[in-house]
């Protein structure tokens, strides 16, 4: 067989790659789902403590981060549209904007967490065990859930940086873009989780 024949028979199954990514996303959804379940049980048991604790968070910063994530979710979807239209330059710009938004989100989170830590409020601090049970549960869940979410942001950024370089080297192109598609799916997952985290953590009345 000639080299050309081998190239033609190259096996690729984009549908299966995507299904695999979705199966992984299901496990992520159930991971956060379990945490949301723990959250709702304790919120039902300590409604006033959860309300009081949530007042310590800045709704403005939370809202800004929501807007940032929704916007970045759109730009990564646009990056996929661009690559489908064989517009490499635009795809690079859109991935770049998404990465910039991701970094901005983390900077906001840094200041938000920093503010709490300055007041001695962080897991394992001397202050935490002195809080009553409702407040303690709220802040433990707050740090764990937003922390795990921030970790997902970092993983998503890594994935998108890989995509950025592959688009640049034309390994991702209008014929083969399933990696960018899966990277984008992961980024949307991060956005999806935040859509629930924001009203549940910041807006408790």
């Amino acid at each position: 067989m000639s080299e050309k024949a081998i190239h033609v028979e190259e096996h690729r199954d984009d549908e299966a790659s995507k299904l695999g990514m979705w199966l992984f996303i299901f496990t992520e959804l159930l991971l956060f789902g379990g945490l949301f379940l723990v959250y709702s049980i304790f919120r039902a048991q300590y409604p006033t403590a959860f309300h009081q604790s949530s007042l310590e968070l800045s709704v403005t910063i939370g809202a800004i981060n929501t807007v940032i994530l929704l916007f970045s979710s759109m730009t990564i979807a646009m990056a996929l549209t661009a690559i489908q239209k064989n517009d490499q330059k635009r795809a690079l710009i859109f991935i770049g904007i998404t990465l910039f938004c991701a970094a901005a989100f983390l900077v906001n989170k840094y200041f938000e967490w920093g503010h709490k830590i300055e007041h001695g409020l962080y897991p394992g601090s001397a202050l935490m065990p002195l809080l009553d049970r409702g407040h303690l549960l709220y802040f433990s869940l707050y740090f764990f859930m937003t922390g795990l979410h921030a970790l997902h942001i970092i993983i998503g950024m890594t994935l998108l940086i890989v995509c950025l370089f592959k688009v640049k080297s034309k390994n991702i192109n209008d014929h083969d873009y399933v990696l960018l598609e899966n990277g984008a799916l992961y980024w949307h997952l991060v956005d999806l989780i935040w859509i629930f985290l924001f009203p549940l953590m910041y807006l408790i009345s």
Binding site: R12, D13, D14, E15, K18, L19, W22, F26, L29, L30, G33, L37, S40, I41, A44, V59, A63, T66, V67, L70, F71, S73, M74, A77, M78, L80, T81, Q84, K85, D174, H175, D176, Y177, E181, A184, L185, H188, D191, L192, I195, F196, F198, P199, L200, L203, S205
Partner: protein, 94 residues
């Protein structure tokens, strides 16, 4: 190559979806100040559900995916709701 089955969504459609999502975010924040009592959580969750539906169907291309995948995604959410219900029933009648 016939391998690319993904539907292309226009920039304009994506921007419109973002505008709806931003409006819903604004709505969630303003609803909290209305003191609807126990309904505030319900309203917040309904809006969040609507937002995630928009993200799933448009940004994540589910609208154009195979029926199998759409059913699978729906089942995950059904599974989660069942788990939540069973847990709450357990807590309520303990």
């Amino acid at each position: 190559m016939a391998n690319n089955t993904t539907h292309t969504i226009e920039y304009k459609t994506l921007s419109k979806i973002l505008l709806v999502l931003l409006f819903l975010t604004f709505l969630t924040i303003s609803v909290t100040s209305f003191h609807l009592g126990p309904f505030t959580v319900t309203v917040a969750l309904l809006i969040a559900g609507l937002k995630s539906f928009l993200v799933l169907s448009n940004f994540m291309h589910l609208k154009y995916e195979s029926l199998l995948l759409r059913i699978l995604v729906a089942m995950v959410f059904v599974l989660f709701v069942v788990i939540v219900l069973i847990t709450f029933i357990d807590y309520a009648y303990r």
